[in-house]
């Protein structure tokens, strides 16, 4: 196919909406390379350079000469709305297929069949989806003229960003013959990643690499071990910083907490996490249109987000690697003279990053449990059938199954709704890779700690060097260093804020999938027997009351009066309606007095009677050793009894020290209500529910 430079420029101008736009260095060559079909191409350019113009213009030129549509694989579809709008301006008809729009698949498939789609955008997870493969790819796949692999660094084991489904992308790419046009793009690829990409994409790969340094960014690092100091620092600085930005946290829980704190200080901020669901688009727009000062976000606000005038990116905790950090901080100052990138380092980040590293792969125990369960069942098992046989949490079972099924050859595959063993054992390479990646993550984690400690003025050079870029072009920071401490009164306010934080306990509406073991209870829990939504005073081990609860449970064997007072204040703010008229507690044979004694003191402080009507009848393993709903509910059921004669009819506070899966509360509430109590309001000292 012949490349037409005049038409390409015309498309650039239509897409960018500027009649004087010119190609950036490398863009036109890249488009030319693809259109002429001169072999596979890898483009390494920082975000904002305009990689999307390369593939959209190439797609349009190919389509104008009669070729089939392009297929783009990207983990960031949700964030590509800006790029898609630009594509539409140049007449490129894009369609997205994802798990959220299954009802549109048939329509999109028809549009593709009618040649009405120019580029089809999918996530790598789609490629593993049986229905997508069978119903969409089988027909569309035969016409694809160009494959674009976005965020191609994920193909490499050394890519910072371990996305299991890119293993699938890698194997698909390896299986493709040279006659398919292929463009891989990424913003970050150090030498090791480049080596891997050469190996996967072939020796004849053409590579186009741009500059890494961002001259507009002023980088700074500050160690502030306590959350209170960091919260206070944010509140103080947000007053002074110009423009709008992003504050990154490592966990969903922290994103909400930081956002709540800043809101309480009068800032227009919103949390943005993987839990934001349908709100995501409006939140992104709120920041794009400067309706919020900042989004407090997890990495869910990821690589593709493009706000050219983003004035600051602040990290509340240190991310796990230089590449991740560079990608996130690099979002600031794309079209500004100057912008801040500030990294706050806190004491808890080590634990959080350790948790991410430690949970990235299934353990040998998890793998053998799942495989053994399948060995025993000739016809395979559904996810829920596996859960009823192995005492492993649903999340971990899903992760185990997912990673095993992405191996090649895979030890297990999905046949219809069931997982089935194949004729291949899991290769030892799987464990070698897990070990290699884990130690790489540790090195990356250490490298970021080194970054935290370097003096102001040297940060950009450190990042560029770590990414194997050219440090000779790095300029000194344009903005002055920010104040590194917070005001004392703000710190005190932050302390008070953390003391007031509490955690909602969602009530369960359904028995475990497949029914409560050894009982006839299944399906929906009758509404009049459900627990109400409750509250926990704090997160287990979290800031605020966390450490006091921990001391009470494991050191002192007694919860302090401060916790009674804190619960009284919590209840005052919460104000459950109908208001409880009595208090009861969840007992434990191991620590028979701990919780009832606390509940009794709380009842007196509230001026309510305490009735210990709940008893544990048989000793069971500690509930925290039960890892999924089937086991958790099964462990409680039959071990708790109610002295029915003495159950008062009014609404009741059901007190426990810890709430995790919520099954203890659910089953006890069910028993209480069946015995004639009024609505049950669960109240716990700490929630161990995963906030990750």
């Amino acid at each position: 196919m012949k490349f037409d430079p005049r038409r390409a420029l015309e498309l650039l101008r239509e897409g960018s909406g500027s009649s004087t736009a010119e190609f950036r260095a490398g863009q036109e060559e890249a488009i030319n390379h693809i259109v002429d079909g001169r072999g596979r191409l890898l483009v390494v350019q920082k975000t904002g350079w305009g990689k999307s113009f390369v593939y959209f213009i190439a797609t349009k030129l190919l389509r104008e000469s009669g070729a089939g549509p392009a297929l783009l694989v990207s983990p960031l579809l949700a964030l590509m709305r800006n790029q898609i709008a630009a594509a539409e301006r140049m007449g490129v008809r894009a369609a997205t297929i994802n798990s959220d729009n299954q009802d549109e698949w048939a329509e999109i498939e028809k549009r593709v069949a009618n040649n009405e789609v120019d580029i089809l955008l999918i996530s790598p997870e789609r490629l593993a989806n049986e229905r997508f493969r069978e119903e969409v790819l089988s027909s569309v796949g035969a016409q694809i003229s160009l494959l674009v692999v976005d965020e191609a660094h994920c193909i490499s084991d050394w890519g910072h960003d371990f996305r299991p489904h890119y293993r699938l992308v890698e194997r698909i790419v390896r299986a493709l013959p040279a006659n398919l046009r292929l463009l891989a793009t990424t913003a970050t690829a150090n030498s090791r990643v480049l080596e891997d990409l050469h190996e996967v994409l072939g020796p004849d790969l053409e590579v186009s690499v741009g500059e890494l340094s961002r001259d507009s960014l002023t980088l700074q690092t500050i160690r502030l071990p306590n959350q209170t100091e960091r919260l206070a620092w944010l509140a103080d600085r947000l007053d002074e910083l110009e423009g709008h930005g992003i504050i990154y946290t490592l966990t969903v829980r922290d994103a909400y907490q930081v956002a709540d704190w800043l809101k309480s200080r009068g800032f227009a901020v919103e949390a943005y996490t993987g839990d934001s669901g349908d709100l995501r688009e409006s939140l992104e727009n709120a920041l794009l249109n400067n309706q919020v000062k900042a989004l407090v976000a997890t990495t869910a606000l990821g690589m593709g987000y493009d706000k050219p005038d983003l004035a600051f990116v602040i990290h509340y905790q240190t991310p796990g690697s230089v590449v991740a950090y560079y990608q996130q901080v690099g979002r600031a100052g794309r079209a500004l003279e100057s912008a801040y990138g500030v990294l706050l380092s806190g004491a808890e980040e080590g634990d959080i990053n350790d948790w991410f590293i430690g949970s990235a792969f299934p353990s040998m125990h998890e793998v053998s449990e799942v495989i053994n369960a399948l060995e025993d069942e000739k016809n395979g098992l559904s996810l829920y059938e596996i859960l009823s046989r192995v005492n492993i949490s649903m999340g971990r079972v899903q992760k185990t199954i997912q990673l095993l099924s992405l191996e090649s050859p895979a030890p297990l595959v999905k046949q219809g709704s069931k997982w089935q063993l194949t004729a291949s054992k899991l290769s030892s390479e799987f464990w070698d890779r897990a070990e290699r990646l884990t130690s790489l993550r540790r090195e990356e984690q250490q490298q970021m700690q080194d970054y935290v400690d370097i003096p102001f003025g040297q940060h950009m050079a450190f990042l560029v060097k770590a990414l194997d870029g050219d440090t000779s072009v790095v300029l000194p920071p344009k903005l002055p260093e920010l104040e590194t401490t917070a005001r004392v009164d703000t710190i005190m306010a932050a302390e008070e804020f953390l003391d007031r934080v509490n955690v909602p306990i969602k009530s369960r509406k359904k028995w475990p999938m497949g029914g409560l073991p050894n009982s006839s209870l299944k399906g929906t829990i009758a509404a009049q027997h459900q627990a109400n939504d409750g509250r926990a005073l704090c997160h287990w081990g979290g800031a605020g009351w966390g450490s006091l609860v921990q001391d009470g449970k494991y050191r002192d064997g007694h919860f302090s009066d401060d916790l009674v007072e804190a619960c009284v204040r919590l209840i005052k703010n919460w104000n459950p309606d109908p208001a409880p008229t009595w208090v009861t507690a969840v007992p434990s044979l191991n620590h028979p007095a701990l919780v009832p004694e606390f509940a009794n003191r709380l009842a007196s402080a509230l001026g309510l009677p305490f009735h210990p009507v709940v008893t544990q009848t048989t000793e069971r393993p500690e509930q925290k050793t039960m890892e999924n709903s089937s086991f958790q509910a099964g462990n409680i059921h039959g071990s708790v009894a109610i002295s029915t004669a003495s159950v008062p009819p009014g609404p009741v506070f059901l007190v426990d020290d810890m709430v995790d899966s919520g099954w203890t509360m659910t089953i006890t509430a069910w028993l209480l209500r069946s015995s004639g109590s009024g609505p049950v309001w669960p109240l716990a000292l700490a929630s161990a529910g995963s906030g990750q």
């Binding site: 079909g37 001169r38 072999g39 089939g68 297929l71 490629l127 493969r133 069978e134 119903e135 790819l137 089988s138 027909s139 796949g141 035969a142 016409q143 694809i144 003229s145 494959l147 699938l168 194997r171 698909i172 790419v173 390896r174 299986a175 493709l176 013959p177 040279a178 006659n179 398919l180 000739k378 016809n379 099924s405 191996e407 090649s408 050859p409 895979a410 595959v413 046949q415 089935q420 063993l421 194949t422 004729a423 291949s424 054992k425």
Partner: protein, 328 residues
């Protein structure tokens, strides 16, 4: 097993493979075995091979083959190249492999006996080393009587004890019974399937053998292909070609896959001796095969005797001898 496919295999898949990833195979204008053979010859004249058709610039080569297969059709078939990605990936994840006639890993018995009539592609699961071990092909009808089934199981078990690979078609009836007889006695088994390779590769009954390297399942047809009478017939010649000798345990007269497969051997291919079960009173089908030159199975009793049936230098004396008997 996840070894990358050669460019020739990829090209052959694009030209002749249905690449089924959905439940229903779409009608595609694939090259027939004859057309592919002619295309290969043309490529050979041009000092090229199928792999060259999937290089990044194959426009001229495609044009030069226009008189054998039209450029439009070639481009349309080769333009399916993306489809190869997910399809091959899914086979490999399920421990399936695929090879083409030009691949050194393609079974030598098939290329040497069938030449360019050998299937352009062979899909499989399990240790392909078993395909190089020859062995005894056991064939028979799906609805055989109890005697025939018992005999099939016995022969399978004898083959196992004698260290002779048992080759069969994997269909229910005689095929499966003979294979099971061999597998239960710890023998090597090759199953040549006319359909459903992917399902068979996942079937738990086959898992042990596939994992131990004592079972290899192969098929000239797409792993997701459904049953097709023509395919079932075609795979018969692969069964005979992989083995050193064939044994027909039961057959209808003048109809059915077993009959036509054996007849084709005796009339045309002569890949090795064809035996028929020695049954009291005979059967019309088996008797008819004998008149075409099939030998009476000598009912070896020991492993030594069983092995002798395969010893080409000292063929077991089986009378009446056929004038058309060809040993390899």
């Amino acid at each position: 097993m996840t070894k990358e496919l050669t460019a020739n295999t990829k090209a052959t898949l694009l030209l002749t493979g249905p690449l089924i990833s959905g439940r229903d195979a779409r009608a595609q204008d694939l090259l027939t075995p004859g057309e592919f053979k002619r295309l290969e010859r043309r490529l050979d004249e041009l000092s090229s091979e199928p792999a060259d058709l999937v290089s990044s610039d194959a426009t001229n080569l495609i044009r030069e083959c226009d008189d054998v297969v039209s450029s439009d059709r070639l481009e349309q078939l080769l333009g399916r190249s993306f489809l190869l990605g997910p399809v091959i990936e899914s086979w490999q994840a399920r421990s399936l492999w695929v090879t083409d006639r030009s691949d050194p890993l393609y079974p030598k018995a098939l290329s040497s006996k069938l030449g360019d009539d050998a299937p352009a592609l062979l899909y499989g699961c399990g240790d392909r080393g078993l395909l190089e071990t020859g062995g005894l092909a056991v064939v028979g009808s799906r609805n055989a009587d109890a005697d025939a089934m018992a005999f099939a199981e016995h022969v399978g078990s004898q083959a196992a004890s004698a260290g002779i690979t048992l080759v069969s078609g994997g269909a229910r009836g005689i095929d499966q019974t003979a294979m099971l007889g061999a597998a239960n006695s710890g023998g090597n088994v090759v199953g040549v399937l006319g359909d459903g390779l992917q399902g068979a590769a996942i079937n738990r009954d086959n898992r042990e053998g596939l994992m131990q390297g004592t079972l290899c399942l192969v098929s000239p047809y797409d792993p997701n292909a459904g049953f097709n009478v023509g395919n079932a017939m075609q795979r018969n010649k692969v069964i005979y070609a992989l083995a050193q000798a064939g044994l027909v345990i039961s057959t209808d007269l003048g109809k059915g896959g077993t009959w036509s497969g054996a007849k084709e051997q005796l009339d045309r291919f002569h890949f090795g001796p064809v035996f028929v079960r020695d049954m009291p009173g005979g059967s019309p089908g088996l008797d008819a095969l004998r008149t075409k030159g099939a030998l009476l199975w000598p009912n070896p009793e020991t492993s030594e005797e069983f092995k002798q049936v395969f010893d080409q230098r000292a063929p077991v004396d089986t009378s009446p001898k056929s004038s058309r008997l060809t040993l390899f």
